[in-house]
């Protein structure tokens, strides 16, 4: 049982690390702001989520785990909101996504980017 938990935790950490790097590369390589938000989204959700879950399994049932859950909940709440505010600001500020479609569609893209 312990072995399984241990393996699970290491696996989650590894997955998280890989996703973090993927997100980082995405943030550098993607062409414009709205696309880069997807990279940041990967960092915020898969990366952080997996790493923190792995740490939670390591921590066991204690105050540590509760704090980690709190951190995770805050990040899950705040980072999509922040990305949403940012996308809105960018759209208001006149930055358009590269494919030059209608702005309404772009709004939905910008908003949903944080959920991916």
């Amino acid at each position: 049982m312990d072995i399984i938990l241990e393996l699970l935790s290491w696996g989650l950490l590894a997955v998280g690390a890989i996703f973090l790097i993927i997100g980082g590369i995405g943030m550098v390589r993607l062409p414009d702001v709205f696309a880069r938000m997807h990279g940041a989204g990967i960092i915020d959700t898969m990366g952080v989520g997996a790493v923190l879950s792995g740490l939670m399994i390591q921590g066991g049932m204690s105050i540590v785990t509760i704090k980690l859950i709190l951190i995770l909940v805050f990040i899950v709440f705040t980072s999509p909101t922040a990305t949403h505010a940012l996308a809105r600001a960018a759209l208001h500020g006149g930055v358009r996504p590269r494919n030059n479609e209608a702005p309404e569609e772009d709004t939905s893209q910008g908003g949903s980017s944080s959920k991916t």
Partner: protein
């Protein structure tokens, strides 16, 4: 393994810094700062486990909360303060 995760976070941080220095528009920079804050949270949590002093988690909690305020303030400033000048990137491009 923890060391590997720490390294991954550091690499990602470097990428975020790269984007924030290079970023052609203001929004890229904001995005990079936000991502950097999230990465800081992860780094501090992982380091807390690495050094076996989980008191560090309070610190990560502060970041998770405060980082949000910073991003909101910046987006708000950008959205309402210079409407007419969307890309406030450095015109000199001297980096």
């Amino acid at each position: 393994m923890m060391v590997a995760v720490t390294l991954a976070v550091l690499v990602t941080m470097a990428l975020a810094v790269f984007r924030s220095i290079l970023g052609p528009t203001v929004y890229d920079r904001i995005l990079a700062v936000n991502a950097f804050g999230t990465l800081t949270v992860v780094l501090i949590s992982v380091y807390g486990f690495l050094s076996e002093r989980p008191e560090f988690l309070d610190l990560a909690l502060v970041y998770a909360l405060i980082n949000f305020i910073g991003t909101i303030a910046v987006s708000k400033y950008v959205e309402f303060s210079h409407m007419g000048r969307p890309t406030g990137g450095d015109e000199l491009g001297d980096i």
